[in-house]
């Protein structure tokens, strides 16, 4: 995962509350392979018409907002389906930070797991950011994770993010590495749970065992 330091670039406002992951990535693109570049499907059905031609009135198609690296959404952004592909579309398009007053829970954590920084600002701050971007399209916005600030023009907004997510994003570490370091505690817990529930005892499968097929 790419470490997240500072991102500075065009910020595209996506207006409307409750923008769901079906909008961000329509379901029919779900079976596409992960390495196929999901950026081309981002907001597909509002970005392109039936013939696949760009709709000029959609904000991401306006010259000033093309290639945005920051996205600004409204309340409950990314609600609905848990599809992680929605974040892949955002990340593959080149967006590194998403700002909103609130997020769908699963979408929020999916962002962190894919190296995209979710930034929660107050509703008023977001409204002002959106207004400024609409007023002066293409004015660069800077998101600094170290300082936990968003800077647009001469305005600076402060945000909070939990320490662990911040640490992971800053260093490009993923959560799984950390979890794997706890495997002993997990195996002991698994044995206890099995006893509690009366499940047959089970030996954890390990990488070496699966290589020689001994686990089957």
């Amino acid at each position: 995962m790419k470490p997240f330091g500072t991102v500075s670039g065009v910020a595209v406002p996506i207006e409307g509350e409750n923008v769901d992951t079906d909008q961000i990535l329509p379901a029919r693109f779900l079976p596409k392979p992960r390495n196929g570049g999901f950026g081309q499907y981002l907001f597909h059905d509002i970005r392109f018409d039936d013939s696949g031609t760009e709709k000029p009135d959609f904000i991401l198609n306006r010259p000033a907002f093309r290639g945005a690296s920051v996205l600004i959404g409204e309340a409950n952004f990314g609600c609905g389906s848990s599809r992680e592909n929605a974040v892949w579309a955002i990340a593959d398009y080149g967006i590194r930070a998403v700002i909103a007053p609130s997020f769908g829970d699963i979408f929020y954590s999916n962002n962190i797991k894919n190296g995209v920084l979710p930034v929660v600002l107050t509703k008023d701050d977001v409204a002002r950011l959106i207004e400024d971007q609409l007023h002066e399209p293409g004015q660069p916005v800077t998101v600094n994770l170290q300082e936990q600030t968003v800077t647009a023009g001469n305005r600076v907004y402060h945000f909070k993010i939990d320490e662990f997510s911040r640490h992971c994003l800053l260093h490009g570490i993923d959560e799984l590495d950390y979890t794997l370091s706890q495997l002993d505690a997990i195996d002991a817990f698994a044995a206890r749970r099995a006893a509690e529930e009366g499940w047959p005892a089970q030996a954890p499968r390990t990488a070496s065992a699966s290589d020689d097929g001994a686990n089957i």
């Binding site: 409750n18 389906s81 817990f189 990488a207």
Partner: protein
């Protein structure tokens, strides 16, 4: 209840306050290819395959049962990958030609895989369904799901708790679906963000497990992390004898443990909401968010009456997409398609209730109506009761089990501009197909809409 289940599964806590939770049951489906790829990249096996259960549902056709019959290579690949990986890792698999195959959230309860007091996850937001049995069940992202495969654990921040009580008796023609739609109407599509909802009250306790599954299924549509209902005798009776349920000597201690899972009488919740069951009417959605929902005897709302400018704009956009005129009585809205199915309303009781409304009448000409059972066993049961004949005689298509028109990833969609009365759970823009217009309602209402050709109040003469 949340506290108790949480405490029983917490392995350790991280400095930032996230807890490593042990996962008892992991349900997986044909969208898991990225999770398996992730494991392979890291050289990790599935650590506890006995706790993983697999079924293909999102990409399967519902006009036939052969994997080879899936025309799109991409979709066929998703199903084949699930089969291959389940075999490779020793995961219990219900294949496409196995009667036990079905929608992941239908088969978990049906097979007795989902039990009270358990933590259950699946990379699918409607995993909240299983909370109906008194479990803590929630949807996760695909990277999280890969971690669960590799470690049987998940990092979570403890959600807040919220109790929604529905007291009293439901009126005639009012169902579990109407309860949850009425709840979302009351609290909004983001009304329970960050919370786990525990549903209670006499109207909830009076529901069958199938009705409770419908209510918990749509918790996510109110923004909740999960929904749950305390296990009681109804729950135990439902689970008894299911293939993966505790048996023989293991049964009594299990019931004892399950009983202890329920919230204590004086339990305190971060939020409390009470609804009167008698106030709930059959509901139907008119727009493109779950909070766009009104009683069937109502009218299409007028954006002019919206409280804020943003609301007005959003409503105008929704009405434009839905092709509806403010002020129109809902009962005058004509439909083109009917879909009875999904993990919300694709169980046997739903099909029975829908069939019972048909009364020998025919599907209105010009309307295409489908029944898609939630699992192969639901289909078999319905056929043994003759429900398939009732639906077919009325002019419905009687199909194989899968997600189908709920989301259309298997290629079955509602055409652009078509209006569909659907028992599924989301009315989002493009959910049932590009440009498709969805009205969510109960199976009974969907059946009647099919014969009248329009949204209809099932409480009146029609």
């Amino acid at each position: 209840m949340l506290d108790k289940i949480w405490a029983r599964h917490a392995i350790l806590e991280r400095p930032d306050g996230e807890t490593l939770l042990y996962v008892d049951r992991h349900l997986i489906h044909d969208g898991y290819q990225p999770a398996f790829e992730f494991l392979e990249e890291r050289g990790l096996p599935v650590r506890f395959p006995q706790q993983v259960f697999a079924t293909p549902d999102h990409y399967v056709p519902t006009d036939e049962r052969r994997v080879a019959g899936i025309r799109s290579a991409e979709r066929r690949g998703m199903v084949e990958n699930l089969v291959a990986k389940s075999r490779e890792y020793g995961i219990t698999l219900f294949e496409l030609d196995d009667l036990r195959q079905g929608i992941v959230h239908v088969i978990g309860p049906e097979q007795g895989i989902s039990q009270p007091g358990m933590t259950i996850v699946c990379a699918d937001s409607h995993t909240s369904t299983h909370g109906a049995l008194g479990a803590l069940a929630f949807g996760v992202g695909m990277t999280q799901a890969a971690q669960v495969l590799a470690t049987q654990t998940l990092w979570q921040r403890k959600p807040k708790s919220m109790r929604i009580s529905v007291e009293g008796e439901l009126g005639f023609g009012v169902t579990a679906k109407d309860i949850i739609l009425a709840i979302i109407r009351r609290i909004g599509a983001a009304g329970a963000v960050g919370h786990v909802i525990e549903y209670g009250g006499s109207a909830i306790r009076a529901l069958s497990i199938e009705g409770r599954l419908t209510v918990c299924n749509m918790s996510i549509e109110a923004g909740a992390r999960a929904g749950m209902i305390a296990p009681d005798q109804t729950t135990f009776d439902y689970i008894a004898g299911k293939p993966f349920a505790p048996k023989g000597e293991a049964w009594a201690p299990a019931v004892q443990r399950w009983t202890e899972t329920a919230s204590d009488p004086g339990a305190v919740f971060d939020r409390e909401i009470v609804l009167d069951a008698a106030d709930i009417a059959p509901m139907v959605t008119w727009g493109t968010s779950l909070e766009d929902v009104v009683p069937i005897d109502g009218h299409i709302p007028d954006p002019a009456n919206a409280k804020t400018v943003e609301d007005r704009e959003r409503m105008t956009k929704a009405l434009d997409y839905m092709g509806l005129v403010p002020g129109t009585p809902l009962s005058q809205v004509a439909i083109d398609r009917v879909f009875i199915g999904s993990c919300t309303n694709g169980r046997i009781e739903d099909l029975r209730a829908a069939a019972a409304m048909l009364g020998g009448r025919k599907v209105q000409s010009g309307v295409e109506a489908w029944v898609v059972p939630g699992s192969g066993l639901v289909k078999q049961q319905a056929e043994s009761e003759g429900l398939d004949v009732i639906f077919r005689d009325a002019g419905f298509q009687w199909r194989e089990a899968g997600c189908s028109l709920c989301l259309g990833t298997n290629g079955e969609t509602v055409s652009s501009g078509q209006r569909c009365a659907s028992t599924s759970n989301r009315n989002f823009v493009g959910r049932q197909g590009r440009g498709a217009r969805t009205h969510l309602l109960s199976p009974q209402m969907a059946a009647v809409a099919a014969v009248t050709g329009r949204l209809t109040d099932i409480r009146g003469g029609y």
